[in-house]
Symmetry: C2
């Protein structure tokens, strides 16, 4: 299994990306990696980590795409960037199964959509990040920002993509799929939701369980939520943001009084666990579903461990029969 | 000041609504209330509370609108319901300043939009609930679900409505208005957001500060967020839902070990404060902005204190020069 890691563009790049790559190699003995980016910098990082193996190949790419670059310009003008070089190799070389990037989201979506083939029948790839649920499970959100203008057909496609992903990569048997809406009744929402509801109900390839209000995202009652990229983005970021803000507030309040500090000392292990539970890095990146090859987008703020988890995801996505299952489901429509 | 309280339709109606009314009267000596609903039941509640004053008038309305009623049918067919009777009186009688309801949201929006006059220039009223920010302030979200299909002009109107509300009712001097979007850069989002951005920037009546990502809602950097009703609904409910789920998890984890219970005992006061901080009932109902008269929609789960806070809101909204300010701002457009 060969996977490319775009080593630049994240907040902690390239050190987090290179270290994440080395960590992933330790876990998967049949994995080899291609790292794209400034060759000298990557070599220095590998030296620093004491890596002496032969399962890493470096492909020199001196440019970096940033959030300031317009996605379409980035593709056209920054061909020597770590991201675009990775995408080009992923497209061209049959033995490369997938890629991981922590770089600019817009450029990655554009490059993946335009340069990597899509699964037949899929109009646009969609992001599917995961969040932890309160019963110890996970929930996928598809789409979380790749497509802000969508059609009811695309919502059905997203349900099929996410179902195959959860089944193949996370062993969720028969993922319960919900439609994000402003109420649970079937006639709720705008035209998009009203049209999509019966189409999702009629789709034999998925287990549609009805509408979901955003307040129930973490309840554990759903495995996958389908939505347009705009409201999906609002949903994921507000859930992450609220959790982070509350943890920060809790910490601040604890430090305000000695007796609270004492109490918190007794609960230290618990608070550490809560923090880990809410650390979205633990749940991997936003995979881009619907491409012929695996693309995993890590958070811009990914550290080495988070990058390693993204490489795990790419490894497991590429190893399974996910795309074959998606094609079969699309043909049934 | 005369305000109507729809006493039926909430989860804890009518007892919470009647008790909330009595609590509000204690606070505002110049307030009188009209309670709509089953007369005998309301009388029994007032007796139970030992209310003997003369500032409550009961208007008998034997029917109740529920979440199962289609909004348009509810208006047409349930004229004898506590909500529709309240709306009809609010429309007809000049001395009634506003109303509070904890009943079905859809029916209330439809009835208010169709039966109560709108402020000249406003096409559709919009909800504006408030949430607490981490620096001890509040943030308004407009719209949170009244209008799922909207135009860029309506986003500007919502900015004007919310600005006047925060200024007049909460003494926020120059509310910082943000546009909910999937990124902070001005060119982010779909056509609706891209068109609305320069219009908001050009509007002299508001203090537009740019795009906001949902993760920053509670940061205290913004006083008002404008959005379509669909994503606004997702935003508010996911924020409330995440906070509630995390508190529940914390509580469960505390009870899992004796040492945690001991620690929590030392922090009891702090946890009570956190709980109060996150209790959205403390921040009042979703006011419906843009009507000629005040309409406050309390949460369906409102208890007596929450109903009382909604009545406070209606009192303060009706007392100010809010609507005059809105009309002036609209004329400047």
């Amino acid at each position: 299994m060969k996977i490319i890691v775009d080593c630049f563009g994240g907040d902690k790049s390239p050190s987090a990306n290179v270290e994440g790559a080395v960590l992933a190699l330790k876990e998967h003995s049949d994995l080899s990696l291609i790292l794209t980016g400034d060759e000298n910098v990557i070599k220095t990082e590998l030296d620093r980590l004491g890596y002496t193996g032969d399962r890493i190949e470096i492909v020199h790419a001196p440019e970096v795409i940033t959030g300031e670059d317009k996605p379409t310009d980035a593709i056209r003008l920054k061909r020597e960037s770590s991201m675009i070089k990775a995408i080009a190799m992923l497209r061209k070389e049959p033995d490369i199964a997938g890629m991981v990037s922590t770089g600019a989201t817009g450029a990655l979506i554009a490059a993946a959509t335009l340069r990597i083939g899509r699964i037949r029948g899929i109009r646009r790839p969609a992001f599917c990040p995961l969040l932890p649920t309160m019963d110890g499970g996970i929930v996928g959100i598809c789409d979380s920002g790749a497509n802000v203008d969508i059609t009811p057909e695309m919502l059905v496609h997203q349900a099929i993509l996410g179902t195959a992903y959860l089944r193949n990569v996370y062993n969720v048997k028969d993922p319960r799929v919900a439609l994000l809406n402003i109420g649970v009744e079937s006639e709720k929402g705008d035209d998009l939701r009203k049209t999509a509801y019966p189409m999702l109900e009629a789709c034999g390839a998925i287990n549609f369980v009805g509408n979901m209000e955003s307040r129930d995202l973490l309840s554990g009652k759903y495995d996958l939520v389908v939505c347009d990229g705009f409201s999906g983005n609002v949903l994921v970021k507000s859930t992450e943001g609220t959790a982070l803000e509350l943890l920060k507030k809790l910490k601040k309040d604890i430090y305000s009084k000695t007796i609270y500090k004492l109490g918190a000392l007794l609960m230290k292990k618990m608070f550490m666990e809560e923090k880990e539970f809410m650390n979205y890095h633990n749940y991997g990146g936003s995979v881009l579903l619907g491409c012929e090859k695996t693309v995993v987008k890590g958070h811009g703020s990914s550290d080495a461990r988070a990058v390693k988890i993204c490489i795990d995801q790419a490894y497991r996505m590429s190893a399974g029969a996910m795309n074959a299952e998606i094609e079969a489901a699309l043909q049934q429509l």
